[in-house]
Amino acid sequence: MKLLKLVPDHTNIDFMRWRNIAVILSTLLTVASLAYTFYRGLNLGIDFVGGQVVRAEFARPVQIENLRARIDSMGVGEASIQALGNDRTYQIRLPRPSGPETAANQVVSKLRVAIPQQFPGARVDAGESVSGKVSEELASEGAKAIIFAMLGIAIYIWLRFEWQFGVGALLTLAHDVSMTLGFFAFTQLQVDLNVVAAILTIVGYSLNDTVVIYDRIRENLRKYRKMAILPLLNLSLNETLARTVVTSLTVLIALGVLMAIGPEVIFGLAIAIFLGVLIGTYSSIYISAPVLVWLGVTPDSFIRVDEKDDKTTPGAQPA
């Protein structure tokens, strides 16, 4: 049987030729993503702004306008209603009422009683309420978690490799996270706790790719001490390209299935990781690697620090 080789043997793409364009583009996109996120804002779920969501299943098809009118008449604020797959299942979100911390929960109680009264046979399948105080805590914990994860991983890379690699990892992560946020700002998909989990996963995954490439760069730096840095990066990227493609594809296959037919509650999580894998694959090639050039990684600098103790004949070191 002929085996599938997505990346042919002896592939030799001059990745670094476009590094300046790529980095400029990525920087612009990152800045644009962040600016757009700040300008447009994220569609934050009740986890982060407080409020109430109930999910109701009706015995008979219900018109969305009819449902909205009934809920408006309850005086619990302006509902945003979303049909879930059919015209009998709806998700109803209401803004957090002002007042004491318990006010949010009382709205859920009210809906849970009122919906079956107004629509006989209807069933409230899920109800969530998050008070203002709790949502502030969740938001700050989520932000902290993402920042700590980024720093923690960058520090690990610094310890395992060199400081330049740590900086490269941090910039790569910042790029990936900004782009993901930009995507959520652009599509206005709801950002909830699951999306934070997804971003943390992306932080782990994107670095997975970067680490594999960095590991190969380190290996080649030791192996080909005379090679200039750009060809060496190209060589390392090409050598790891097949792996990059195959792994990314397997993850995309698994997540694609989850996105397409998985439970809708975790759609945000699935699409965020799916996208993050794509961005992470790109950034591990065009951000992680070029950064090393600017930070002045040469075979020299690496050896001097890393293999100081291994020197048996100091004079034999390449100049």
Binding site: R112, S129, I153, V211
Partner: protein
């Protein structure tokens, strides 16, 4: 590479078999097979999170204002009892303004004695050396008791641990359900109840402080004043929503004659008209007191007060001496039953507010599991197919490793009684995709080494050795992000992180060690001359 001693093979096989064995109870849970699984075999299985099993997650927070008020009230009673003891100290009304207690000592020579007795009432706090109340004198005759911050904190902490037990008793009077009730961060209680059918009833049970008091009705109060909220000294005006006399307010004496603390039991019953009521039984001290009070006040109305609202104020027709009484009011069977449960479990020392709720019905949970399982199966098959067409024989090894990894994740989760949540299923699928990364790294490296002209055995050996470094570092990054997620995340997100963490560890075993064994055994058996990879 070929050096794979038989004992190592046995150990690896043993681990794999243990993994399959331990994951069986979780896999057959909820199917008819579960009942046929022999009882002498292992039964630990994965817990389903509330988003999959259905149930209610409630985060309760102590109402600080209510806590302060309750504490002041309790202190007020304590002071009044103390001052009435011999030698009695005559004081004016006790004021509770500004969160402090103060009273005027009528006889100036008794001020020092009053201060001394107040100091004795305050408790020293452990470690800090502070006391829970500061006692001072202003204007030479007014004694002021101010709660200290440390005292307030300690009181809240004590109240929360009592509240936790009360909440548990209310939700689960029989003590048989698998519910979680834990205190969090000093002033919160987390409640998780799987399989709730009516979350509103649950919240009603918890939301009621159930402070039951019996006080005498102040018959001398001017009805006009009462409607304005003004009561004569020594009395207070309380809401009385179901007053048959029409006024929604009533004046009662401040002094608590008998309180719900002295109950031993409460049950829903019916009054002589057949309306739902609550039958209560007092303990010995309570019965004695209730008997004395009713004896002394025959013919007068007696207010039954729940959480500062008057339920009813029946006339005392005759002394009630047996320690049994009945609480009437406008109840339904359900509300009478709920109140009986609340009273029997004791009053909450502090009012609890629901500040977060997440409830999922069992149907929705089942639907999620169903969709999640199907997505997992299809996703796994997709990945397997891709591995097979890409790596041939080595793809088969990766596939076996993948399946074994799936079992191992389930086994480890079952072993630790971990909770599987909906995002956890996503974590499972992601792990399936990411776990093969190690095999991809190894296989690509072997391809590369063969291209470089290494001999088969050498190439395989170099492949495994060189790839391991990258596999290790890459997995550490996963572990870092997943640990941080597990630390900061709540409920479902933590479930996701746990699956990722377990998956990373087991995948290193299956993808590196286990496949290496398979490859070694194959090479040793067939001595292939070339490698199709």
């Amino acid at each position: 590479m070929l050096d794979f001693p038989r004992w190592k093979v046995w150990i690896v096989l043993l681990v794999v078999l243990a993994g399959v064995y331990l994951s069986i109870p979780s896999l057959i849970a909820g199917t008819p097979l579960a009942s046929r699984w022999p009882s002498y075999l292992v039964h630990s299985k994965i817990n389903l999170g509330l988003d999959l099993a259905g149930g209610s997650h409630l985060l309760l927070e102590a109402d600080q204002r209510d806590a302060l008020k309750t504490r002041l009230q309790a202190k007020e009673d304590e002071i009044s009892t103390e001052l009435h003891r011999d030698p009695r100290i005559e004081v004016g009304d006790i004021s509770t303004a500004d969160g402090r207690l103060s009273f005027l000592v009528r006889d100036p020579t008794q001020v020092d004695a009053a201060v001394e007795r107040m100091r004795k009432l305050s408790q020293p706090l452990q470690l800090t050396g502070n006391r829970d109340w500061d006692v001072s004198v202003v204007d030479s005759a007014r004694v002021v008791l101010t709660p200290t911050a440390a005292g307030t904190t300690q009181a809240l902490k004590d109240a929360m641990s009592v509240a936790r037990d009360v909440v548990r008793r209310r939700i689960d009077p029989s003590g048989t359900k698998e519910i979680t009730v834990i205190t969090e961060g000093g002033n919160r209680i987390l409640v998780e109840v799987p399989g709730v059918e009516d979350p509103e009833q649950l919240k009603r049970l918890i939301g009621q402080t159930a402070r039951l008091e019996f006080k005498l009705v102040d018959l001398e109060a001017n009805p006009q004043d009462v409607l304005q909220g003004r009561a004569p000294p020594g009395s207070e005006v309380l809401p009385y929503p179901d007053n048959p006399g029409g006024y929604p307010m009533i004046a009662v004496k401040r002094r608590v004659m008998v309180s719900g603390d002295q109950l031993t039991n409460a049950q829903q019953g019916y009054n002589q008209d057949g309306a739902p009521a609550i039958d209560i039984t007092f303990n010995t001290a309570g019965a004695k007191r209730f008997g004395r009070v009713t004896q002394e006040n025959v013919g007068k109305p007696f207010a039954i007060i729940l959480d500062n609202r008057v339920l009813s104020a029946p006339n005392i027709n005759e002394p009630i001496l047996g320690g049994r009484a009945q609480i009437t009011g406008s109840f339904t069977v359900q509300s009478a039953h709920d109140l009986a449960v609340s009273l029997a479990s004791g009053k909450l020392p502090v009012k609890l507010n629901v500040i977060e709720e997440r409830t999922v019905s069992a149907e929705l949970g089942k639907d999620s599991i169903h969709k999640g399982v199907i997505a997992s199966i299809i996703g796994t098959f997709g990945v397997i197919l891709f591995m097979l067409v890409t790596y041939g024989r080595f793809g088969v090894y990766a596939t076996i490793a993948l399946v074994v990894n799936g079992f191992l994740i389930l086994a480890v989760m079952a072993l630790f009684g971990a909770t599987l949540t909906l995002p956890g299923i996503a974590g499972f699928i992601l792990t399936i995709g990411a776990a093969v990364d190690a095999n991809v790294l190894i296989n690509e490296r072997i391809r590369e080494e063969i291209r470089r002209g290494r001999r088969l055995l050498d190439a395989v050996e170099t492949g495994y050795r060189e790839a391991f470094r990258a596999i290790f570092d890459a997995n550490v990054t996963h572990v870092i992000s997943a640990s941080i997620m597990a630390f900061f995340g709540s409920g479902p997100v933590r479930g996701f992180a746990v699956v990722l963490l377990i998956g990373v560890v087991t995948s290193v075993f299956t993808a590196v060690y286990f496949t290496r064994m398979l490859v070694a055994l194959w090479i040793r058996r067939t001595r292939p001359r070339e490698l199709h990879i």
